[in-house]
């Protein structure tokens, strides 16, 4: 009897020890763990003499081949001696999959192309600590990225979260095409057919559109031309430069002298909407623009049905891009030329490590190579000779079998790398931007470049306490503004409704939001 009691006690003691051990192990899981087993080389390739295996989770674009079959990943595995197991998820339903992954806390070593947005970094990085803080790792194991950060402190700023730490490694675009999202295009063939000049003011622009509508510029005898194309309801906010509406933080904000202002209730915006409403009711603006129907939009583009339109790249209308040309921003009520749709060139959230990452040092070394000139070129173009050659001007050009592949250029490229779909952590320069931007696109960007805002701000990271509030307000605000603005433009609402619209925005909390962002922006300075 006595014996069994002492045994019981013993067992109890063991249980306690085990429980403590487990909970200690769980707690320490949030700190970076040294991988003692695998020695890594601090410079050059291979990264490790012994093969290191890690798991990678991310989103696979429809144009990409399976990652294990992708050329640059296979080749890079040979170079680095790091073997990756891929858990790739198709874009459909990816966002749900990602949330459930975090909620179930079964994390991979590396997040690649997982497009972690600021909210998610705040929730899963600052909040729950499931993402690893990368500051020290970058300083020690990522010389290329460190150099970029030193030369461009604003880029480092853009990567920092509200607690001042870096949780994700970005995609950095330093080329001219990357400094803006939308470029404006006009059909010069139609202009020539009708003997018209490229418009410079809003009034001239409207006259041109009317001519496009009435005079059958494509000469097929049918009235199938669409004078002006806008891709979707939310694109409207980026295109109000002529009315003095900036698109700071990639949203409806002006920032002058460090003061944030949301212009959704301003008269300038009202005038802009009145102008768009006028174009819409005259059937100059694409009548179906608000339906978010991408396939129809693409068909219209490649069918050359648009007179003037806005697109970031010409990849969808490569077949007729020679007929389109970029042009300078239109002069509006402000009397100035201004192109609002700027970008900082930093796309955060493309690469991150989980707190359970088995070898963070190796993972950071793995990604850093793509921020060197050589690595950026290798990522974008593949292997010299096999995939591309340099032309006389020293610019890399793809071989013919890729450029004119039967399955389409993007699909062919998707077998080599992750350029189709974007969002891969690497450096893109003017030299390598040719991989996505045709010469035509680069020209269109160069025309607009001088008219971009002098300073461009990304959305500042918001403290965790304010995060809930921001998410709640933005959810309602964006739903309401998209619906209301669309109704104003297509004429479902009269502009008598303007005061009610403004009152509703105030009620939802547009000014609170402004204040929270102002506070966050001041905190960075």
């Amino acid at each position: 009897m006595k014996k069994s009691i002492s045994k019981k006690k013993e067992r109890k003691a063991w249980t306690t020890v085990l429980c403590t051990a487990i909970s200690v192990a769980m707690l320490s899981g949030s700190l970076p763990v040294r991988a003692d087993g695998n020695e890594i080389n601090k410079e050059g390739f291979p990264i490790s003499d012994e093969t290191i295996t890690m798991t990678v989770y991310g989103q696979r674009d429809q144009n990409q081949a399976e990652w294990k079959d992708m050329f640059f990943l296979q080749k890079y595995e040979e170079m680095t001696n790091i073997h990756l197991d891929y858990q790739e998820v198709p874009a459909d339903g990816f966002s749900e999959n990602k949330q459930l992954l975090f909620a179930s806390n079964e994390l991979p070593d590396i997040f690649l192309r997982a497009s972690l947005n600021a909210n998610e970094v705040s929730m899963y990085g600052v909040g729950s600590g499931q993402l690893m803080i990368l500051d020290d790792l970058i300083a020690e194991y990522a010389p290329n990225l460190t150099k970029i950060f030193e030369e461009n402190p604003s880029m480092k700023q853009a990567c920092m979260s509200a607690d001042g730490h870096i949780y994700t490694i970005p995609f950095i675009d330093m080329s001219a095409t990357g400094k803006m999202d939308f470029k404006q295009w006009i059909n010069t063939k139609w202009l020539e057919n009708l003997n018209l000049e490229i418009p410079t003011t809003l009034d001239e622009f409207k006259e041109v559109l009317i001519a496009f509508r009435d005079q059958d510029p494509n000469g097929n005898g049918e009235n199938d031309e669409i004078p002006m194309g806008i891709r979707e309801p939310s694109s409207v906010y980026a295109l109000g430069g002529s009315f003095g509406l900036q698109h700071q933080m990639r949203d409806t904000y002006n920032i002058d002298d460090g003061k944030i202002h949301n212009w959704l209730c301003d008269d300038e915006f009202k005038n802009y909407l009145i102008w768009l409403n006028d174009l819409y009711s005259e059937k100059l603006l694409w009548q179906d623009y608000y339906k978010n129907d991408r396939p129809v939009w693409r068909a219209n583009l490649s069918g050359e049905l648009f007179g003037a339109m806005y697109m970031p790249y010409s990849d969808v209308f490569l077949n007729c891009e020679e007929d389109y040309s970029g042009y300078e921003p239109l002069i509006g009520p402000t009397g100035e030329k201004f192109w609002a749709d700027g970008k900082s060139g930093v796309e955060t959230g493309t690469f991150a490590l989980s707190n359970t990452c088995s070898n963070p040092e190796a993972a950071i070394r793995w990604v850093d190579y793509f921020f060197s000139e050589e690595g950026g070129l290798f990522f974008a173009f593949g292997e010299e000779g096999t995939h591309y050659t340099f032309n006389e001007e020293g610019i890399p050009v793809f071989n013919d079998e890729i450029l004119n592949a039967e399955e389409g250029f993007m699909t062919a490229l998707g077998k080599i790398n992750m350029v189709p779909g974007g969002g891969f952590p690497c450096l893109r320069t003017d030299e390598t931007s040719g991989v996505v931007a045709s010469e035509r696109t680069q020209e269109a960007s160069k025309i607009l470049e001088p008219y971009l805002p002098n300073v461009y701000y990304d959305k500042p990271a918001v403290s965790t306490e304010n995060m809930d509030r921001v998410v709640a307000i933005e959810q309602d605000l964006n739903t309401y503004r998209d619906e209301a603005v669309t109704k104003f433009i297509i004429g479902e609402w009269d502009f008598d409704m303007w005061d009610e619209y403004c009152a509703t925005l105030e009620q939802i909390g547009i000014r609170d939001l402004e204040e929270i962002y102002q506070e966050a922006l001041d905190a960075i300075k």
Partner: protein, 301 residues
């Protein structure tokens, strides 16, 4: 005590059979309920469900304060009520009509044709709706044009969202839901009809005074069960049918939860909203049961 034990042993087979659904309820319905507590907590995956910090009613407040709260609640309730008001009597009427068909072959054909649409996927139904309601070549506008109506883009008009949803639902499920009533009608004693005929009752009188009262019990049970799922409008169909222009009429609690909870990872918030939905649902069920008990003496419990 011993007697009881003996009895249990005697019917062991039955008890084992009972145990299977009983366990199913425990494991899949009751145990997951402990996760409901995250509606009152700031859920943090690293801490897990039990260790996340309590935040009280914060998330409920956030939902009630949301600008769209009234809108979403109204849409959910009105869409459910509308669906039930139109969708509930239809199968009964259909069953009565089919029951009146004397030619058995024709009866079977009608029954088959009406319940076929039940087997179509929701995705197919919504694609059909989108095609039919197209402004330029859609069936609805073609028919409307015959009567001189101006073409309407049905899918882009908030006011048309609910009628489209409800009547396509009726079309799809009417035939299938009628089956249970047809079965109930088949068990009605034929002598009642014969006696009525002798008394000189017309067809309509026979339906009202014999058929309907005989299946009343079935109707009421079906009605109460329908009330229980009043607030759970079909998520897939609403989600597939909505677009940014009709959102003011088409956002319901379930689509709201999906967008906020699953797509944006606000698990605590969406659990709170879901719990709120269930509470309303439960209240309605109690109410319907109470009314039915008082009025007809039939009830679920």
């Amino acid at each position: 005590m011993k007697k009881k034990y003996k009895k249990i042993r005697k019917y062991a087979g039955l008890y084992i059979m009972l145990a299977i659904p009983f366990l199913w309820y425990i494991i899949f319905k009751y145990i997951p309920m402990y996760g409901l507590q995250i509606a009152f907590k700031r859920f943090n995956p690293t801490l897990g469900i039990t260790k996340s910090p309590w935040v009280g009613l914060t998330y409920f407040k956030q939902f009630f304060d949301s600008y769209y709260f009234g809108n979403i609640l109204w849409n959910t309730v009105s869409l459910s009520l509308f669906t039930m008001l139109v969708g509930f009597p239809m199968p009964i009427i259909l069953a009565l009509l089919i029951n009146e068909i004397k030619n058995t072959k024709f009866q079977k054909v009608v029954q088959n044709i009406t319940y076929m649409p039940n087997f179509l996927s929701v995705v197919v139904i919504v694609s059909m709706l989108t095609l039919f309601s197209n402004r330029d070549y859609g069936l609805f506008n073609k028919i409307g044009a015959l009567f001189g109506a101006a073409p309407v883009d049905f899918m882009a008009k908030p006011a048309w969202f609910q009628p489209l949803y409800v009547f396509s639902n009726v079309w799809q499920y009417m035939g299938f839901n009628a089956i249970i009533y047809i079965a109930a009608l088949a068990s009605v004693d034929q002598e009642l009809y014969e006696a009525a005929s002798i008394d000189g009752a017309s067809r309509m009188q026979k339906i009202i005074h014999i058929s309907l009262p005989c299946i009343m019990g079935t109707i009421i049970i079906m009605f109460i069960m329908r009330i229980g799922s009043l607030m759970s409008v079909g998520f897939e169909k609403v989600y597939l049918m909505q677009n940014s222009v009709t959102l003011s009429a088409s956002e319901v609690i379930s689509t709201f939860i999906y967008k906020n909870g699953i797509q944006k990872g606000q698990f605590s918030y969406s659990t709170a909203v879901g719990l709120f939905n269930s509470v309303i649902n439960f209240t309605l069920l109690m109410l319907a049961n109470f009314v039915s008990k008082k009025a007809t003496k039939t009830s679920l419990w």
